[in-house]
Structure formats: structure tokens, C-alpha cells
């Protein structure tokens, strides 16, 4: 059985269509990433799957339960961590955890083994008010609260947005640990570099799914040659490279410009054309998920 099954799901806010006819499945025990820029419809999909919204069209099953008919049952089986910190800032760490345990009718001790790797890190601060915690600690507390009732599916909406690089890394390690407990994790992120930590990812933009595959599969999907170029004058390079023969697309990516070529592209010819620029370098590179995303978006 699949943990999440989505069939032709659509949702509009007035005239704005936030989700357009989306269908896909997430397998049991999978760490599934939903990757896309702001406004792609990620949060809407989360709110639909956690039964906070009703769809306009289509249906979805979570843990085999219908999202509209069985919403009460779904709520007791899923854990949800919204993008914004939404625990009680005026209650202490411990009080928040106890409160959410009581809401689900469980005891902290019963799920302690599950949350221990995360909660033990903030336990020294258990009497501190949740509002006074640092960003990374807030996130750990929120995750502990979302796990307190041993959910079978965990929904994490942009958990790493606004968190520093070290804590982000730590967070993904925690998710990997949770996965070993058999919990299905559905996570969204605007950061392409986090995609490789997922089992499978879905790239989405403007309410549609562009592609679904493993991170490796998605990258392999990229069928055009890709190069990295750089020179002293990056701006001039970008403009003239875009007009060169055989170039499909050229865009900045960190310290390099990525150049996507078609079959007419001749590297040595391109090199001789641009060699007059100071410090010009061109090299063949492996495509990243970001490159795939940009290519899919432009299609």
C-alpha cells in the first residue's frame, strides 16, 4: 500500500489556480521531497493532505484513508510541522510537548524512544519558554511535537527555511534516522541542494508537477550537454554566450555560468571565439537538479 496516493488534485483561490490536476504516489517508508520555488503550490498541497483544506477536484488517500471522508482518522495518523513555528511561545518546551501528547491521548514516555534522538538535544532547556528558543531548537521542538503520537506519515512544510547551514544538515540527518523507524516522510523545500537527501523527489512549479524520480534519475534525465563557463567580466560573457551558436540556454549559477548546448554546439569553436576575454575558462560539468529544474521550467 502507498502511504500517499494523489489523484487529479486541483485547488484554486478565487481566480488563482494554486494546484493544477496533480497526481502521484508516495510509498510507505519513503522520504519524499517536494521541490519548487516559492508560490509553486507546495504549502497548498500540504494543507490539502493534512486535511486543513478541501480540494476543488480530485482526491487523495493518506495511509489508505480518504482525505475528505476520513479526515478525523487522518488527523490522528499524521504529524504536521507547518513552515511557520506554531507552538505556544508562552508555554515551556516540556509543557508544549505534554500538551500535544495529551491532545493525541498519549504519554510522552510511550513515544520517548522515537523522539529521543531529537528531544534529548533540547531537554536541557525543557523549562525554557518555547518563544525564547533559538531557530534550530524551535525546529527540534516542533519536530518532537509532530512525532509525539507516532504518526505513520510525517508532513514537513519547508522545515529548513530560515535555518542555518549546519542546522539544516543536522535536520536532514534526523530525518534519515526517522526513516529507519518506518515513518513515511513528505517534505518540501525550496533548496535544490537538499533534494539529494531524499529517496524520490517531485519538481513542481506554478501548481504543476514537472517531474518525479529519484534524485539520480532526475539528473540522468538531463539529455543535453552542459558546460560551466567563467571569465572576468561575467555579465558580458553571459550576454554574448546566449547569442552564440548552438547554445540553448545560459544562466548564472554561483561562480559559474551554466551553458546548455544542443547538438550543433562546437566546444573548440566556442572556446576560440571567447578566448579574447580575460581569464576565460570552459569545462564540461555534470548537470545538477537545479539545471534540470530550469530546463523543465523553460519548456
Amino acid at each position: 500500500m502507498n502511504a500517499i496516493e494523489i489523484h487529479n488534485l486541483s485547488k484554486s483561490y478565487g481566480k488563482v489556480q494554486a494546484l493544477k490536476n496533480i497526481s502521484f504516489e508516495v510509498q510507505q517508508g519513503e522520504l519524499f521531497g517536494l521541490i519548487g520555488p516559492d508560490g509553486a503550490g507546495k504549502s497548498t498541497l500540504f494543507r490539502l493532505l493534512t486535511t486543513l483544506l478541501n480540494p476543488d477536484e480530485g482526491s487523495a488517500k493518506i495511509d489508505g484513508l480518504d482525505m475528505v471522508k476520513d479526515y478525523r482518522l487522518i488527523r490522528s495518523r499524521v504529524g504536521y510541522m507547518p513552515g511557520r513555528f506554531s507552538l505556544y511561545p508562552d508555554l515551556s518546551v516540556e509543557e508544549n510537548l505534554q500538551f500535544f501528547a495529551a491532545l493525541f491521548g498519549v504519554k510522552i514516555e510511550d513515544s520517548y524512544d522515537l523522539i529521543a534522538p531529537i528531544y534529548s538535544q533540547i531537554e536541557p532547556f525543557r523549562t525554557r519558554k518555547a518563544g525564547k528558543l533559538s531557530g534550530g531548537m524551535k525546529q527540534k521542538l516542533a519536530l518532537s511535537c509532530a512525532l509525539i503520537h507516532r504518526p505513520s506519515v510525517l508532513f514537513l512544510d519547508e522545515p529548513t527555511t530560515g535555518v542555518d547551514a549546519v542546522s539544516r544538515n543536522e535536520f536532514w540527518d534526523m530525518l534519515a534516522t526517522l526513516k529507519t523507524q518506518g515513518i513515511t516522510i513528505f517534505v518540501s523545500t525550496p533548496y535544490m541542494d537538499e533534494a539529494s537527501r531524499c529517496d524520490r523527489i517531485a519538481l513542481c512549479n506554478e501548481g504543476s508537477i514537472l517531474s518525479i524520480d529519484t534524485p539520480q534519475g532526475i539528473v540522468q534525465h538531463f539529455d543535453a550537454p552542459i558546460y560551466g563557463i567563467r571569465a572576468n567580466n561575467m555579465l558580458a560573457l553571459l550576454e554574448s554566450a546566449r547569442n552564440a551558436q548552438g547554445v540553448i540556454d545560459c544562466y548564472p549559477s554561483g561562480e559559474w555560468h551554466h551553458l546548455v548546448a544542443n547538438t550543433n554546439f562546437d566546444v573548440s569553436k566556442f572556446e576560440s571565439e571567447f578566448n579574447h576575454m580575460d581569464d576565460f575558462i570552459i569545462k564540461s560539468i555534470e548537470p545538477t537538479i537545479e539545471d534540470v529544474f530550469i530546463k523543465l521550467m523553460k519548456r
Binding site: 504536521y80 505556544y88 508562552d90 493525541f104
Partner: protein, 367 residues
């Protein structure tokens, strides 16, 4: 039930953690009950009188001394020139001018004398008209006294006046029940709404909504703390009324509590309904204020419903405070019983059920 207790515990914990709510809940009823009745009064006192005495007779002196002796009037000025007094009236130094014409005493004994003229500053209509009445009464009393001294029958002894239920015409006794209602509206009306909208603004409601808690349980957990606080407020208000103003209900305390409980149910349900429709504190406050203004000014709390126009009187039937103020006043002052007041209790009961049902129905767990 366990879940409900957890929710309640959380509410009380949050109230206690709040830096000023607990203080407000205790200080507010005490301050309102202590200060407002002392300051707010419809009794017109300290009406300043100027006498323009052109007569200089024993009659005019008698009038002046009566005015001076009155507890409402005070003789501020005595001049021989009307324009001077008018000037003082214009400056607000005096409120009423009494002019006694020349040869008033002499003419009184022979024929109809020239009239005594009274001029009042009516910028404050209440003070003007009440002050005028007091002045007329005082002068009439002075003149009657003079008449009596000459004739065998004492006119005053032919009249006897009794103010039933509030023998001293104490305005405070009229105000205290109204103040109690204002307290309920402010504490049990505003606080639950702000508590729910606060959860909306901080996003915590989202986290609650994905739990299997039912609408009813969550709404109740928001209401119950304020019901308890409301009962505490009634008790404090009744104790203050008793200790400070010596006002204790002639009727039964149980009837008062019952009315108060129904009203607290009503106003808190009303408050949650408004919270369900608003997304920000600002919105909630403004909408609440709109209704609270209507409640306070049109429910007969401060001005009698009987003196409103017919259509407005009919409109007040839709205002819950109207029923409670009637219950409180008649139980406090007349000792009216529960049975005599049953239509008011039924009305409040209907309001309570209506608003609380509406509150539970309009709470959206799904946006």
C-alpha cells in the same frame, strides 16, 4: 474528557503566564465598582446661583437663604446688576441667575407682583433643566413658607412623598447593576475573542486543527475559563457593592447568579462567533466595539428604555444586556422573584443557546 482537561490547563496556564491578564481580571472589577459609581452621577449638584436682588426685602433674603441651604444649589454671587450676572453666566462661573424685581415684597401683599425671572445656562441640557427645577422648587418653598406664616394651614403638610425601592433616589443604586453588566461585556466578551484570534495570528491554531480534537471541544476550552472568570467577577462586584455602598439584593442572590451565568454564556458565545469571522486582533476589536457600543448605550444600562422612541424600544428586544439589567435592578432593588422575571430568563437562555451554537458551527477546522 482527558483532552478537554489538557486544553483547559493550557488555557489557564496561558492566562497565568500573560503579564497583565491576571492583574486585569482582579483589578478591573474592583476599580470599576469602586470608582465609577462615585464619579459617574446623574444627580445634578453644585448648581451655582447668582441672585440679582433689586428688592432688598425680607422676602428676597428668605429666598437667598433657602437657595444657600439647598444641597443641590449654592449661592455663588449676589449683585444688583443683571448684566454683570449675565457676564458671569457666559464665563461659566454661574449656572443660573435669579432676578427678584424691585418692590416684589410690597407688591405681593397688594396685588400680583412683577415676576421673578430665572435664567439658566442650558449648554449642558441635563444640568440646565434639573438645576432650573431645583431652583423653582426652592423658591416656591420659600414663598410657601412665607404664606404659611400668615395663614393657618401649612401647605407642605398636605403632601407626602415616597420614593419606592430607592428611597434616597440614589443614582448609584441604579448604576451598579449596569456597571456589573459592563464588566461582563468587557471581560467575558473581549477576552475569549482575543484569545482565539491570538491563536490565529500566531499560527498555533493550525497545529491544533491537524489534531483530531473536535470543534466543540476546542471552542468550549476557550469559553470555560472565561465563564469561571465571569463568575468570579460577579462575586467580586457583589461584595464591593455590599461593602462599599451597602447595597445588597433584596431578592435572592441565586436569581442574580443565574441571570449572570446566562448572560456570560451569551456574551462569550457572541465573542467567539466574532473571532471566528476575523483574522486579526484589529478586526476583532473593531467589530466588538461596534456591538459593545450598541449594547452599552441602547440596552437601558445608562438611560431608561422607556424614554426611547417606540421603534428603538422594539429594537432593544434584540439586545441581551437589556434582559439582564432588568433582572439585576429588580432583584437588587425590589426583590422580584425568579418566577416573575421568567420572560427575561427565557430570552437570555435563547440568546445563550443561539450564540454558542453559532460559535461552534462557524469555527472552521478546515479553511
Amino acid at each position: 474528557m482527558k483532552v478537554f482537561i489538557a486544553l483547559l490547563q493550557k488555557e489557564f496556564l496561558q492566562i497565568r503566564r500573560n503579564s497583565f491578564l491576571p492583574r486585569l481580571i482582579i483589578a478591573f472589577p474592583i476599580l470599576v465598582m469602586l470608582l465609577m459609581p462615585l464619579i459617574m452621577t446623574m444627580d445634578v449638584r453644585n448648581v451655582n446661583i447668582a441672585i440679582v436682588d433689586l428688592d432688598h426685602s425680607s422676602t428676597s433674603h428668605r429666598i437667598a437663604s433657602h437657595i444657600n441651604a439647598s444641597e443641590y444649589l449654592s449661592l455663588a454671587q449676589s449683585t444688583a446688576e443683571y448684566p454683570l450676572a449675565l457676564d458671569a453666566l457666559k464665563h461659566g462661573d454661574i449656572d443660573i441667575i435669579v432676578q427678584i424685581p424691585n418692590n416684589f415684597e410690597r407688591d405681593m401683599t397688594i396685588s400680583t407682583p412683577e415676576r421673578i425671572s430665572i435664567t439658566a445656562n442650558a449648554v449642558n441640557a441635563t444640568k440646565g433643566s434639573m438645576g432650573l427645577q431645583y431652583t423653582v422648587q426652592t423658591i416656591a418653598k420659600a414663598l410657601a413658607e412665607l404664606q404659611c406664616e400668615k395663614s393657618p394651614i401649612n401647605v407642605q403638610e398636605l403632601l407626602t412623598v415616597e420614593n419606592r425601592y430607592n428611597p434616597t433616589l440614589n443614582y448609584r443604586y441604579y448604576m451598579i447593576p449596569a456597571l456589573m453588566i459592563i464588566l461582563f461585556i468587557l471581560i467575558c466578551g473581549f477576552l475569549p475573542a482575543l484569545s482565539i484570534v491570538g491563536e490565529k495570528e500566531s499560527g498555533t491554531i493550525e497545529q491544533i486543527n491537524v489534531t483530531p480534537i473536535s470543534k466543540l471541544t476546542f471552542t468550549l476550552s476557550k469559553l470555560v475559563p472565561y465563564w469561571i472568570i465571569g463568575l468570579f467577577v460577579v462575586t467580586v462586584a457583589m461584595i464591593v457593592a455590599r461593602l462599599v455602598y451597602g447595597l445588597s439584593p433584596v431578592g435572592s442572590v441565586a436569581t442574580i447568579y443565574f441571570g449572570a451565568i446566562l448572560f456570560i454564556f451569551t456574551i462569550s458565545g457572541f465573542s467567539i462567533t466574532i473571532a471566528n469571522f476575523s483574522d486579526t486582533m484589529q478586526q476583532t476589536m473593531f467589530v466588538m466595539f461596534f456591538f459593545v457600543m450598541i449594547f452599552m448605550l441602547l440596552s437601558g444600562l445608562l438611560t431608561p428604555i422607556d424614554s426611547m422612541p417606540q421603534w428603538a424600544q422594539r429594537f432593544t428586544l434584540l439586545l441581551p444586556p437589556r434582559y439582564l439589567v432588568e433582572i439585576l435592578r429588580s432583584v437588587y432593588l425590589k426583590g422580584t422573584t425568579f418566577i416573575e422575571l421568567w420572560p427575561n430568563f427565557v430570552a437570555l437562555g435563547i440568546f445563550a443557546i443561539f450564540f454558542n451554537t453559532l460559535a461552534a458551527l462557524t469555527y472552521k477546522k478546515q479553511a
